[in-house]
């Protein structure tokens, strides 16, 4: 008798559980989408002067300075990036351009002024390091929310702010960037305050932290962020200064013409 009731209950409950699980996943994906848009697609375009500091395990610092332009062609979809390097001096005036396609492969070009050379870069690996830092190309322009399965696992607080905890696993089994990621999304501004990356053995290998958030022209912006490599015991901090949004960038700026001659109206 008891087992029959249990069985009945189980049969009745399973659809409900599945249903809530599906809803939870949808909610999680929706949250990650909103977070992604708030983080990587703020405004229609943007400009920032970037100070990057790479600190190795001995505390030795390397500094890179560059200006970055971004244009969103499709909200949550295609984007164009333009980077003008100032420091260190061996890469000064070098320019770099990415046409990002979230569900395809990106196109990248580099222009080396000392030899007047434009070179397309074979860009297969989004997990490769961005200019030798702890940020990968994917970290800089964002990993699209649709590439992972997301589950909300609870609530928490980070530095006194209420966050939603989301666990993400890559849909593509061959993906090498991480096996699991836990994101702590600010309930109010939707920005990730903390991201913990785990390898397939369950070890935490990388950590992303939002260090400083400011209001820039009405858009809540992450101005300082750090990516730590916990295995190599090193980290990279990126500081955005002089941020501007909706400055009227157009697609023609992200072409070879401007790769050779940086647009002075945006890159001072």
């Amino acid at each position: 008798m008891k087992t029959t009731i249990k069985l009945l209950l189980a049969i009745l409950l399973v659809p409900i559980l599945i249903n809530t699980a599906v809803h939870a996943q949808e909610d999680a994906a929706d949250l990650m989408k909103k977070s992604h848009l708030a983080f990587y697609y703020a405004g229609d375009d943007g400009l920032a002067e970037v100070n990057m500091k790479i600190v190795d395990k001995r505390g030795k610092e390397r500094v890179k300075e560059f200006t970055m332009l971004r244009l969103d062609q499709v909200e949550g979809g295609k984007q164009m990036y333009y980077t003008y390097f100032r420091k260190p001096s061996d890469v000064s005036r070098l320019t770099f351009m990415v046409h990002k396609t979230p569900d395809g492969s990106d196109a990248r070009w580099i222009y080396v002024p000392s030899v007047d050379l434009i070179k397309p870069i074979s860009a297969d690996d989004k997990n490769s390091s961005f200019v030798g830092s702890d940020f990968s190309y994917e970290d800089v322009s964002g990993r699209h929310w649709s590439e992972d399965n997301h589950t909300i696992t609870g609530d928490s607080t980070i530095n006194g702010r209420a966050v939603t905890v989301v666990e993400s696993t890559p849909i593509d089994e061959g993906y090498k960037g991480f096996a699991k990621r836990i994101s702590y999304i600010d309930k109010e501004n939707l920005l990730p305050l903390l991201e913990r990356y785990f390898d397939n053995k369950g070890n935490e290998v990388r950590q992303f932290t939002a260090d400083k958030i400011e209001d820039v022209n009405g858009i809540t912006t992450l101005v300082t962020r750090t990516m730590s490599d916990l295995k190599k015991n090193r980290h990279t901090t990126i500081d955005f200064v002089n941020i501007e949004y909706n400055i009227g960038l157009t697609e023609d700026i992200f072409t070879e013409r401007y790769l050779k001659t940086p647009p002075r109206e945006f890159i001072k």
Binding site: R62, P88, V115, T261
Partner: protein, 415 residues
């Protein structure tokens, strides 16, 4: 006089860099190269022993930009003198919204090849390339006017170089070469000289390109009107023994480059119209020829990129001559190249290898280097240049006694 110029330019740079729209940066570099072949007949013991200062100055006006790149160096290997070169000094501005101008001394590059040049007819400096100087020194400057016109159809470029600028090739001072006249590899006492085209308006160089994007690819067509950049011709009536010359040349070419199969593919070709020997009956002037190139590059592992290239060249047959198989082989050349680049330690160490190999000429040129970014300012490199060839008269066989290793320290600075 030279000294005065140098001092004035240094002061001018320092003064200008004080204002807000001016940037001053550059590097100091020591390069020391030792030859590996005891029997190299060159004038100098070392392939390089130099201290170099490069100063870059950039100034922005309201609608124009000025940029200069000046090298000062002391050459302890050969002349024991300081010298300088204005590698770049140009002004750049936009006219309307479609025209870009770049006027003055400048480094110019186009085409798709990796260290193989078909439609890139801008001056090369092999004297620098073979002794371990930075990649930028492979390109020699030209004093030119560049006009680029952009519209929705594509980009049209015209480069006019009023005074012919030859390639800088080994002369026997620091690098030996094969002399067909001497029938041997020569160096000291055989300072190589060639007669350049006279400085007349009609002897300028005109290089044009039209390029546009088609899907994932960039396609371009080229036309060049000028001269062979190497002294491949000979004027028997010049001087007492005759003299090498730069024969007249037109090039008609095209290229395509784009991403495919997770990598970059490029194809380029050109027809070299030897204007002084269109009938193919002058033995002192090369016959017209074709040159084609295909290359592919991709990342093959984490921080490991490799490419391969294949080039095929064939010159036209001499007029009225019956060609045997051997003779046909002699007018063709196959060249294979490969570049492998590996980045280590968070991109602080770069291992690089580049091989040129011609199976039919049976010669090869290998470039190897290890570079380490010790700090943001200080970069150290060690490398080597190895030439080998069955025969002495082939492209790389000609330089086979110039094997060298070098050590290079670079300190970069900026304001």
């Amino acid at each position: 006089m030279k000294k005065l110029l140098l001092i004035i330019s240094l002061i001018a740079m320092a003064a200008m860099s004080a204002s807000a729209e001016t940037y001053l940066d550059g590097f100091v570099q020591g390069l020391y190269g030792a030859r590996l072949d005891e029997n190299n007949p060159t004038a100098t013991e070392h392939t390089a022993s130099e201290t170099r200062l490069q100063m870059r100055l950039q100034h922005f006006g309201d609608n124009a930009e000025f940029f200069s790149r000046t090298d000062f160096w002391y050459d302890a290997a050969d002349s024991s003198e300081y010298d300088f070169e204005l590698r770049e000094a140009f002004l750049k501005f936009r006219l309307g919204s479609n025209f870009d101008f770049k006027i003055g001394r400048q480094i110019l590059t186009w085409g798709t090849g990796d260290l193989i040049f078909i439609n890139d007819v801008f001056a090369k400096d092999y004297r620098s390339f073979f002794v371990g100087r930075d990649d930028q020194y492979l390109k020699a400057p030209q004093t030119a006017l560049r006009i680029e016109y952009y519209n929705s159809v594509g980009a049209f470029s015209v480069i006019w170089t009023p005074r012919f600028e030859a390639n800088r090739i080994p002369t026997g001072r620091k690098l030996s070469y094969f002399s067909p006249m001497a029938g041997d590899i020569v160096g000291d006492g055989y300072y190589f000289m060639a007669r350049e085209p006279e400085a007349k308006i009609e002897n300028g160089e005109l290089a044009t390109r039209f390029s546009r994007r088609i899907g994932n690819f960039n396609a371009a067509g080229y036309f060049y009107h000028g001269f062979y950049k190497n002294p491949v011709g000979f004027d028997p009536d010049a001087g007492v023994f005759g003299m090498p010359i730069y024969p007249k040349l037109n090039i008609y070419g095209a290229s395509v480059r784009g991403s495919i199969a997770g990598g970059i593919l490029w194809l380029e070709g050109g027809y070299f119209d030897s204007r002084d020997d269109r009938d193919n009956n002058n033995d002192n002037i090369p016959n017209s020829s074709i040159s084609t190139l295909v290359g592919f590059e991709r990342q093959i592992a984490n921080n490991l990129t490799a490419n391969i290239q294949y080039q095929f060249e064939q010159s036209e047959k001499d007029d009225g001559v019956e060609y045997t198989d051997d003779m046909n082989d002699a007018r063709t050349r196959h060249l294979l190249t490969s570049r492998v680049t590996k980045l280590l330690y968070n991109e602080l160490v770069t291992l690089s290898g580049f091989v040129f190999y011609s199976p039919d000429d049976e010669d090869a040129y290998i470039r190897l280097s290890v570079a380490y970014k010790y700090t943001d300012e200080l970069n150290m490199a060690i490398g080597g240049n190895i030439f080998t060839g069955t025969d002495e008269y082939t492209q790389f066989g000609s330089y086979q006694r110039n094997d060298n290793i070098y050590l290079k320290f670079t300190y970069g600075f900026s304001n």
